[in-house]
Symmetry: none
Subunit: 202 residues, 4 copies
């Protein structure tokens, strides 16, 4: 049936206040406990919104998480400009390292990743987030190409994926420690590969 969900027809006043309270509570609890411990019950209590209202509008924990992630995506971001390709890359990777290691901050981004394993909406939200990141990071690659540091036809997104990949690998796959030093190594490696033309579009 997929009858239209509540909250779309009268999106002002109380409805909006409810939405905001719930999203806020979800983000907090996501950071505090992670997706697995996130319960509708807790969100209801923290937000002061009744449990059944949450079920009506977000259907389940998945929907809640997806909505929270979407809302978290809405802030703008741009890569730092250090003047060199490797420097820019290093800054970007250091930011990744920081956001996934600093206690008190890493919980939310980590939760996003976990959530994506549990629900399609969350996976979509995560995908959207990184698409956005890739697009914004392309600026960094364009600058380097303009400076002649790297080949003209370099695939920007691929550069980013190659630079970030190993960091996430340590975090979530081999489960090894991650330090700023690794960001530097990755920046160097990716720079070398890029200069060598490994990411030239076909």
């Amino acid at each position: 049936l997929a009858t239209e969900l509540p909250g779309t027809r009268r999106p002002g006043g109380r409805t909006e206040r409810t939405r905001a309270a719930v999203v806020q509570a979800t983000l907090e609890l996501l950071a505090e406990r992670g997706v697995t411990q996130l319960t509708v019950e807790a969100v209801a209590e923290r937000s002061g919104v009744h449990r059944s209202t949450i079920h009506r509008r977000w259907a389940s924990v998945d929907g809640l998480v997806a909505a929270a992630l979407r809302s978290a995506t809405e802030h703008h971001w741009a890569p730092a400009d250090t003047g060199t390709f490797e420097g820019d890359l290093r800054e970007l990777l250091l930011e990744v390292v920081r956001s996934f290691t600093e206690p008190g901050h890493r919980e939310l981004p980590t939760a996003s990743v976990v959530a994506a394993f549990h629900s399609q909406p969350a996976a979509d939200a995560l995908h959207g987030f990184y698409q956005d990141r890739h697009a914004r990071a392309a600026a960094l690659v364009a600058r380097a190409a303009a400076r002649g540091e790297i080949p003209e036809a370099t695939d920007a997104a691929e550069v980013i994926r190659n630079a970030c990949g190993p960091l996430f690998y340590r975090l979530f796959i081999s489960r090894e420690p991650l330090t700023p030093g690794h960001a530097r190594t990755c920046a160097a490696a990716t720079t070398a590969a890029t200069r060598a033309g490994a990411f030239e579009a076909r």
Copy 2:
């Protein structure tokens, strides 16, 4: 005092049969439904072992998963030998791509990754698995160094991490499609970076 778990004092006969049945059932269900849908109830039913017994010996779903992963790790593996560094790398990466994309097979490895987010034992098991992989893959790097393809002092594990990272990034972070083509790109990029000395120890 964590009183010794059952199943250690008399590890033969029925005890062993029980263990095997439970681990088998867990692996199957892990593959079929993923960690999130894995319930003690289902494992009990599938294995024919009573729920109480499972709780007694494995305490919880986490323990169940960790045990299953440990048992799944016990088979030996060695990187293919194609004669060239890039070739070896490519084969290794293709294997990764296959094991995480082939329907009917990808479920278990994926479940391992997810499980690690949910329980420390599972995280440890995953870590152990990849430590083993890195150690075995070192052979590939040693061969290349012996052939003079890459610098002597190359950090083998770091090579592997850099090569695999981007693939996992696509799979679990940016949630983009993963194809054999990506394995080739990564192999090439890592080869370039390695030759350029990006992974020389310190």
Copy 3:
């Protein structure tokens, strides 16, 4: 001060159409599902009147039921005239048996009885209905008295109660089957008792 209910000030046009639709839907659903399953939700859907409107005008399910019962009571009835006291009584009782046993018809009268347990308005409506019945049935007793079949001072309502009581007892108390045969037995018994003067007013 019970603020005047809506629908009393402007009882024409749309207001009246709404009332009729709601009452009609209530009667239908009462017959189809019984009081217990009767929900404002269902009445709203069936009648095409918004739930809030129903709440405004009938306050609750009770009010709905009471209104429906009142409207159902408004048809006129008179006992059959067979020429004899016992014959008249038998006809009346057969009518009772029929109206409470015929599938497709028994639901509404049964629902009235049940409803009376749940709400005072419904109980009042039911009481009113039977008061009316008793008054009309008095004609039957008067005829018999005029014919000299039974004592002059016979309490008509009491005759009816005694005749009908056992049938309802089977239906709703001892929960035994009810057939036309029982109507005959009751008619005979009541006739005997009446002739013997058991129902002479004090």
Copy 4:
């Protein structure tokens, strides 16, 4: 599936204590609030037994009520012996009047009647109760027949139904007041009808 309900396989110790506590709480709440207001929640709280346990063993409010009624049936009863048929009948009817009118006592029997409208198990329990009553009351009829007060072949159950019916009619159908005086009228009427042979078996 109708898999056997819990509480049947190990009917001693804790299981029995649980059962008793729940039945007791149900009876109390039934008397205090009536069937309609009876909730599993309240029974759980009052009995100290967990809600899910109640659901497991009694499935729903219906089952709860039925069990309570069955247990209430288990006490033995015998009609008083006054020496005369009409006297015995009068005593019996006075008992009915009392049990359905005395505040603080009438609630439970009334609730039984209402419950029977709501669930088959409750209806069955009620039927069982009255079958038992009819059987026990037969003694009264037998005594009268032995004394030669009434015909030999009198159908005892039918006598009881005819005597009680009008009282219940007042209570639950026409919703009129019920007093001890009505018991006397009914006893007299039924005595007259019985003596006249109205309840002789076929």
